[in-house]
Each structure stands twice: as C-alpha cells, then as structure tokens.
Amino acid sequence: MSDVILELEDLHTHFFTDSGEVPAVDGVSFKVHKGEVVGVVGESGCGKSVTSLSIMQLVPSPPGRIVSGQINFKDENLAQASEKRMRQIRGNEISMIFQEPMTSLDPLFTIGNQLIEAIRMHRKMSKKEAKRKAIDMLNLVGIPRSSEVVDEYPHQLSGGMRQRVMIAMAMSCDPEVLIADEPTTALDVTIQAQILDLMRDLNKEHNTGILLITHDLGVVAEMCDRVVVMYAGQVVEEGTVREILKDPKHPYTKGLIRSLPKIHEKEQKLYSIPGTVPKVSMEQVGCRFAPRCEYAFDRCFSEDPELYDAGVERSSRCFLYDDNEEQEAGSHVESDLRS
C-alpha cells in the first residue's frame, strides 16, 4: 500500500465543562494513505467532527483541548504544531469542508471576497484574475448565475449553494489531505453526484487523501476505500468498504446498517437501535454500546473491550471477537453473530 499521509494515534480530545470532563474523542487511531478515501461513520454526537477539528487544531478552546495523542502529517506531529505553522497548513496542505457552512462563511462579506481571499492565500494572482477564478470555481460546483452570486452575501444563497461555496473553497488549493465533514448533506442527489465526481478527480489527479465523514451509507459505498466506524468517542470497527457494508462485525455497525431506509422496499416501521447514546464521562467502565446491545453479556458491563482482530486489516471493539472469550463464554452468541 502507498504511503501514509495522515495518522492519528490514540487521540484524546476532551471538553472541560461545568458538569465535568467530557471525553468527546477517547483514544482514536486510524490512518489515511495517499490517494485513499477513508470514510468515517457513526452515531450523531460520537465525535466525528471533534476528531476532524482536532486535526486542524480548531477545537474551541476553552472548553476543548487535545489532552494526548499524536496527529502525524508527513513528518510532523500536528498536535504539537504552533499556531503559525497550523495557519500555513490550513486551507493549503490540509483543507476542510465544515459540517455547517454558516460557521465558516462570514455573513458580512460577499461570496466573492471570501473566495478571492482563499485563492490569493496560496497563489500569486491579481484580484481580477482571482475573481475570474472564483467564478470558474462556482461554475465547477454547479452554481448557476455564478457571475451574480460572487457579489451576493451568504444569506442570499440556499443551503446547498452555501455548502458548494465551501467545497469550492476547500478544493481550490489542491490539498494533500481533504477533510470533508458531511459535505453533501444539503445537496440533492444529482448535484451530489457531481460533487462526488469532483472529489474523486481531486483524489485521482493529485493523489489527495480524503477523510470523508458522512452518515449517508450510499455515499460511503460509492466513494470510500476503507471505513472507520465510531461510537461514543471511540473507533469500534474498521475494514474495507465492502466488508463494513456487507459483513459488519460490531453490533453497533450491524444495527446501523439495518436502520437504512431502502428505496425499493415498503416497510412500515424502520428499524432503529433501541435506546440512546449514554452520557460519556470519565468514570465509565465497560463497553460503551453495552446498554443498547442485544448480544451484551456480563463482561461487557465490567471491562473495556479493545479493538480485536476480526480478519485481515479488520478490527472490532467487541468481546465477541476476543479470542480468549471464545473458550470462556458466549460462544453460542458468537456463532450467531458471525452467521
């Protein structure tokens, strides 16, 4: 496999709130290779955005802080990098499409001003040339009447148009790593297809490594090489896109895939995993998913599971995949789960 471009090692990002310390990202490790598209999926609130903000050193602080762990980008540990160095990296070597466009578009400046600034940050160009380039970019992401839209303010655009402005901005610098946090949530499927094509081109032409956070498993199937599944601040499963979608191992992933509404079926009631994510706290013991897991047994409530091997380059944070477990307990559940 080609070189690793980004590697997270045991990353911990916590929020220090009035009601205690919240380990929003609790020991996350994964790799992104050059030219690879890695998907991140998981329950709402499980720490996907905080993980990506940590990579960019953009976690709001206070109350948030990277407590420990490494973020290796090429030969550097970004968790230790200075703000000055991070400013060079952001929007240049690593760029990010944020989940909520309004948080990163300034309501007081026109779309054009913001794009031109982004373009001129890493390319020598006159304002006029940059404006032409900005209009080209708006066209590329399928925005009609682009020559008018450059002079408009964010509130004059529809939700999906704003999202595409952000995408244009993030892709304008041919980054080495692109972090895309729910980049297509506000887009209809035909424009989504167009944007995914653009991302694929970037990925192929510049060998860009892409970290794609999305809850749309259809997008995952189309775009990703590998998938990381998160639950309550931890990685609970990892594998190739085919393995995860066709043969999920972790009980949470199984539930997730069962919840998908299918366009060709007429089901009355959708499946959903019973219960809600518990409040994560520092004192927690046991598997985070145990209270909602239909396979849970005693050990799950008293001990923390690690990421166990579940095949070649596959892992699952579940005691059912602990080889010692098979001899002890639950082997009947095991066979049931693996069937």
């Binding site: 009609p144 939700g159 595409r164 035909t190 809850h215 066709k246 997730l256």
Partner: protein, 322 residues
C-alpha cells in the same frame, strides 16, 4: 374524506437582484414561480428537487416568514396572506417550521431550555415549572437527555442541534409542521428514530407535514404524496408509490436514477444531466428543464408545458404527455 388543511394557489416569491455602484435593482430571482398544491389534514407531503430550486423559500413563504410576492395560501379555509401581524402571530402556534440550518436558527446565547421553552411562553404557558417539565418531555421525545436543557447550542454536535429544532417545533402541538431537511444531519439509526417518531405523532394527533428533503428514500418512506420541484416550479406530483414506480417527468427520472445505493456491488445506471444549469434570474423560455432534458423536443424551448393531471392524481408538467 380528504379534508384540505392547506391550499396554495399560484404562490410566487421573487427576490430583487441588486447591482452596480448604486445597488439598484437589476433583476429578479424567481425563487418560487407559480406553485399550486393542496395538503390534506393528516397527510405528509414530501417535496424534493434540485438544490436552489426554491424549496426552503416555499416553506418560509407559506408561514409568511418571508412575504410572498403573489398568490394565495389558505390554511383551514382562511387566506393567511391577508392577515395582520397579530392574527398571524396567533396562527403560528398551529403552523410550525423546522429550519434547514439548525446552527443559524438557534440563538447561540440561549440555553436549550430557553430555546425550546420560548414558544410555550409566547403561547401562554406562564408557569416556569410547567415549562420546565414540558421541555424535558420534548427533549426525551427527540432522543436528547434532560441534562442537555442547560447547555448552549454550540455545545452540541450537528445532529443534536437538528433535534433541538425539532423539539422546539413540536412544543405547542401544532397542526401543520413544515420540515425543511429535518433529518439531513443525522446518522441512519437516529434518523429512523426521528422518522418513526414523526409518523407516530402524525397518527396520534393527526398532524400534517410538508417534508422537504433531498434523501429520496427518506421522503419515500415518510410521505403519502411527493412533489418534485425544478427551478421554482412544481414539475410533478403524485402518490409516492406511483411517483417512484412510474416517474413521468424526465427530471424526476434523472433524480431517481442518481440515488446512491449502500452496496458497493451495485453499479448505478445513472442519467447524468448535461447542459447548463439555468438561472432563476433568467429562466429559460418554454419548459424550464429543456436546457438539460435528454428527451427535449422543438416545442420544449418555445412553449411552457402546463402542470396538469396526466393519469389519476398524477400531475406532470411536460410536453411528452400532451
């Protein structure tokens, strides 16, 4: 039996385009251009369509959160475009909206308790004790926890914020809720919870929803009928099973073919739309879709196709069905 709760006739919303040094009006964006439909009591009407085609603008114009340029909106037989502010304010108890952008629609300085409790106060729940109780109930209903009440919007993830917006809309047991992409930021399991919840509430209280979303499987699951918008206009409207099994408009056909499937072995057989995406400030003559339509004929660039019933309760605006 079907009893219309909302009747929309020839609704239009044009925004001014300003330009030049003096910021004078140089044109108009025809965001919603002559849309007519009815929603029955207890019905869920799905609306899908291209980004920027006017879905959110339609939703906001129905509640007069932006003033319609023209047209009639009848809620329970009353034309609400004629109401004064006070009457409109009272009516908002019955008509609610879940905004597309949860971040922009939640006041960052207020706690969730205040955000969800405010509509209760406005519509007469004076006791703080009672409000607190109701807020807790509502948070639980949307899968958040009571301790979340004292937090501020920025302390939540995207999907959690979306659920705060849903809780707020449900606060006063409204009759009609306009849901603008209410589940777009949620993972599929939480999404199923919310969709099931919304169906249950409908069954229990005979609620009516207009459900705007771009996820076609979600829309199919929840809706009774589905309308398809393109460039400010409704181009097709039918019962959901009919629409998905027998789409008539070429745009609807393209849309349905582009749905990504969560299976790496399924290779989509997509209709890729070529040609320029037209601008709502300068819409094409004739059929608005003709610049990209794979089936376009000569007549399409000249004559505007009428939105009419082609087969039983299946409406379409396309010359292929003349």
């Amino acid at each position: 039996m079907s009893n219309p709760i909302l009747e929309v006739n020839n609704l239009k919303k044009y925004f001014d385009v300003k330009g030049g040094v003096f910021g004078r009006k140089v044109g108009e964006v025809k965001a919603v251009d002559d849309v007519t439909f009815t929603v029955n009591e207890g019905e869920i009407l799905g609306i899908v369509g291209e980004s920027g085609c006017g879905k959110s603008t339609t939703g906001k114009a129905l509640l007069r959160l932006i003033e319609p340029t023209d047209g009639e909106v009848k809620f329970e037989d009353q034309d609400i475009t004629q109401l004064d502010d006070e009457a409109m304010r009272k009516l908002r108890k019955d008509m609610q909206i879940i905004f597309q952008d949860p971040y922009a629609s939640l006041n960052p300085r207020h706690t969730v308790e205040k955000i969800v409790g405010e509509p209760l106060l406005v519509h007469g729940m004076k006791s703080a004790e009672e409000r607190k109780k109701r807020v807790k109930e509502l948070l639980e209903v949307v899968g958040l926890r009571p301790f979340h009440a004292s937090r501020y919007p920025h302390q939540f993830s995207g999907g959690q914020r979306q659920r705060i917006g849903i809780a707020r809309a449900l606060a006063n047991n409204p009759k009609l809720i306009i849901c603008d992409e209410p589940v777009s930021a949620l993972d599929v399991s939480v999404q199923s919870q919310i969709l099931n919840l919304m169906s249950d509430l409908r069954d229990e209280f005979n609620l009516t929803y207009i459900f705007i979303a771009h996820d076609l499987s979600v829309v199919k699951h929840i809706s009774d009928r589905v309308g398809v918008m393109y460039l400010g206009k409704l181009v097709e409207l039918a019962d959901k099973d009919e629409l998905y099994e027998n789409p008539k408009h070429p745009y609807t056909q393209a849309l349905l073919s582009a749905v990504p499937v969560a299976d790496p072995d399924v290779i989509g057989d997509r209709v890729i739309l070529e040609g320029d995406v037209p601008s709502p400030s300068n819409p094409p003559t004739g059929c608005p879709f003709h610049t990209r339509c794979p089936a376009a004929m000569d007549i399409c660039s000249e004559v505007k196709p009428e939105f009419k019933e082609d087969s039983d309760q299946h409406y379409v605006a396309c010359h292929l069905y003349d």
